[in-house]
């Protein structure tokens, strides 16, 4: 049995692992099979992570974090968690390969998943012109017309990135005010290939085998227009990944894992949460990393409070 299992391999998970490993807790980190490294694996240059004045590529940053966590004794497993039992003194975590791991504490840092528009043909055309990842799929839209849906930093980043390939990039946003930071907005607005379509929502996606266009509804006057497109990139936000803990941990009205004040303590003793799974507001690599630190320190504090007989069951 372990002292701590960390579920998730974004900045929150790896930072929690660095702290827990340096505290000699020999953490086991379940990184996922195909999403190891988390959201930053799908980004390009990260310019706002302190300590990298020239920026760093997102995937490189995550590989560095993993190396730092492993250096101090974190064991990283590239598999997916299929179920958890978080009640009781000993928590169990079951993986896709059938392995069952036990620990006295769990840090839950599963992040968030892309939000869908909720349109009929969105899933059918996903991978056939509908995408949630410009850095993955932008390459295939050379000299094409594409659109990004959304008004946040991710939408601005995707739109700017897509101009490397596409001839024309529309940004479709439901209001006339962007949520994106000023620097990201300015960069997108200065780009001659980008055109903003404000006060518009996507009503329908057209396309037999591949996306051919969308119909847009004006949120002010209700008029409908169509737009011919080859690609539709959706960047309208994320929802916390909490499906494995439904019914076990208390959630907030926003769907995040509820924690006590500024701590990482969830509604169950010995279970801690970190990163985007408890934060729909800030969602930065740095805030997730900080949140991972909080969780690791809370784990140390909790373990110190446990009776000796329990602690002795956990191997170092």
């Amino acid at each position: 049995m372990r002292q701590v299992i960390i579920i998730g391999s974004g900045p929150a998970g790896y930072t929690a692992a660095i702290y827990a490993a340096r505290a000699s807790l020999s953490p086991l980190l379940i990184a996922s099979s195909v999403e190891a490294g988390g959201e930053l694996m799908k980004t390009t240059e990260v310019e706002n992570f302190p300590g990298f004045p020239d920026g760093i590529m997102g995937p490189q940053l995550m590989m560095n974090m993993q190396a730092q966590a492993e250096k101090f004794g974190t064991e990283v497993v590239l598999d997916d968690v299929v179920s958890v039992d978080l009640t009781g003194d000993v928590k169990t975590v079951t993986l896709g390969n059938g392995d069952v791991h036990e620990a006295l504490t769990v840090i839950y840092a599963t992040g968030s998943a892309y939000r869908k528009l909720g349109l009929d043909d969105e899933t059918r055309l996903s991978g056939y012109g509908v995408s949630w990842c410009a850095t993955c799929d932008g390459f295939f839209f050379r000299q094409k017309t594409v659109a990004v849906v959304g008004g946040g930093d991710s939408a601005m980043e995707e739109a700017t990135f897509l101009t490397k390939f596409a001839d024309k990039v529309y940004v479709i946003h439901r209001s006339d005010r962007l949520r994106a930071s000023k620097i990201m907005q300015d960069r997108a607005q200065a780009n001659p290939k980008i055109e903003f379509l404000f006060n518009k929502t996507v009503d329908r996606i057209y396309g037999d085998e591949l996306v051919s266009g969308v119909s847009l509804r004006d949120t002010v006057d209700g008029t409908e227009t169509t737009l011919d497109l080859s690609g539709l990139f959706i960047a309208i936000g994320n929802d916390p990944r909490v499906h494995l803990v439904h019914g076990q941990l208390d959630l907030t009205d926003e769907g995040t894992i509820a924690v006590e004040a500024r701590s990482s303590r969830t509604s169950l003793p010995g279970v801690f949460a970190a990163g985007d799974v408890l934060d729909v507001t800030y969602r930065q690599a740095v805030t997730a990393a900080a949140s991972g630190t909080v969780a690791a320190l809370d784990v140390e504090h909790y373990l110190a409070s446990l009776p000796t007989h329990l602690l002795q069951t956990a191997s170092a």
Partner: protein, 108 residues
């Protein structure tokens, strides 16, 4: 590194379309993180079912004609070919179990 054979625009017709075996083509690129994640999983599936399916890789950067012909707009894209025809398409990196169930009819 993957053990899978690399196919190209030049060899695709002979190695894939002309093969009498069931061939899974993994359309991938260096810059595609999810491709790197799914590659070892495909290697495992290939090793465990070598009598049923052969996995080959096509780099979309180096082989744009084949990628365009099969209308690839998202990678990793995994297409199963039999007798020169696409009989199954799976898009996106998935855990091993999910890929195995997507490909079940070819692995049994």
């Amino acid at each position: 590194m993957s053990n899978a054979l690399d196919v190209t625009d030049e060899t695709f017709a002979a190695e894939v379309l002309g093969s009498d075996k069931t061939i899974l083509v993994d359309f991938w690129a260096e810059w595609c993180g999810p491709c790197r994640a799914v590659s070892p999983i495909l290697d495992q599936i290939a090793a465990e079912h070598s009598d049923k399916i052969t996995v080959v890789k096509l780099n979309v950067d180096d082989n744009p004609q084949t990628a365009a012909k099969y209308q690839i707009t998202s990678i990793p894209a995994m297409k199963v070919y039999r007798g020169g025809e696409v009989v199954k398409t799976v898009i996106g990196a998935k855990p091993k179990g999910a890929l195995e169930s997507d490909l079940a009819e070819f692995l049994a």
